[in-house]
Symmetry: C2
């Protein structure tokens, strides 16, 4: 145990994901050995995240304003909504530069064992978005981009059922299959099975 | 890139040792998803480290007061000084519960290529401590516990030369050898060589 303030900082840092006591100690001593202005900048950044980050009123993504950058960008295609679990999934899809539509962040996936049902996710907000469509813009496709695991698949199935009665709306799901750059030989059975059942016609 | 405050926090966190952009992002979103009071506690802990941590006027260890817990503890043997590179080395030796003396923290090791010479370390302070001994207490042993690497060994050699003329003072060095619980077969040549040359008489 170190004296007072340092141990307190180590304890707080060690609560963060991916940091154990050793990693926390390393960061605490790094901050201590550095300039006080480095600590100031970290404190200021934490304060701004605490005070200034809000969730977009439309899509639920993290945002600096009432509407996020994507929802307030009129060039983004409002006829397509990509439904993801978390803000970092928005980031991942944006990096592909393949999607020009809007997003809807659920805030997680269905997981009854952890007490996460439809009411804990932003599903009602999605239905409201689809019902209260602005004049002229009809959402034609909802792409369900939840994770390809048990919870994500269950969420996709639930959404498919909820959305099937919207007229003129197609509900799609991200393809499952072999990861690019991977090796067929090392693919797990489930992934290879999905790749097979989802095979595309080339010619 | 995320919007404003989150990206700023990710950038600040990613500067810390052991955290890359991915780890920083994970912590930022963890903080964002948690209670605001968690961020408050982290900010408060950082502020206290910035404002309240000082270095002990005697040994140079991190401290909450002018003298650290060890230097102000009259039960600690003042005739032995263990010289270490960093505050975390004090912590490591304290954990052994084998040492009841005092410490002296150098603040690093000699490393001419990085511009760290004797004047950049707290060597002058060590000599002053040995010269200005309180009446009645004579330091009889200085244990050089710098790291067993090039810089630490160079520092040990330098200290040995500086301290050899103090009357009645023995200068010792931590033993090098096989780590406990290790396997002789897997020891590197240097360690095994040191273990051999430092062998002890058992009977």
């Amino acid at each position: 145990m170190y004296e007072g303030p340092i141990q307190d900082l180590i304890d707080e840092l060690a609560k963060q994901p991916g940091l154990g006591p050793k990693g926390a100690q390393r960061i605490a001593f790094h901050l201590l050995a550095g300039e006080k202005s480095d600590i100031d900048r970290l404190i200021a950044a934490l304060g701004r995240v605490r005070d200034d980050v809000v969730f977009c009123a439309e899509c639920g993504n993290v945002s600096a304003n009432r509407l996020c950058r994507i929802c307030s960008d009129s060039r983004r295609d409002a006829t397509k909504i990509c439904v993801v679990e978390e803000p970092k999934d928005v980031h991942a899809i944006e990096r592909t530069k393949e999607f020009t539509g809007r997003y809807h962040v659920l805030g997680g996936a269905l997981d009854p064992l952890s007490g996460i049902g439809p009411d804990q996710l932003r599903i009602r907000e999605l239905l409201r978005r689809l019902a209260n469509q602005e004049d002229g813009v009809d959402v034609s496709e909802v792409i369900v981009a939840t994770d390809p695991n048990t919870e994500g698949e269950a969420t996709a199935t639930y959404l498919q059922r909820m959305l099937k009665d919207f007229p003129g709306l197609s509900v799609t799901r991200l393809a499952s299959g072999l990861p690019m750059g991977g090796d067929l030989e090392f693919a797990d059975e489930l992934t290879l099975g999905r790749a097979l059942s989802g095979r595309r016609i080339l010619a």
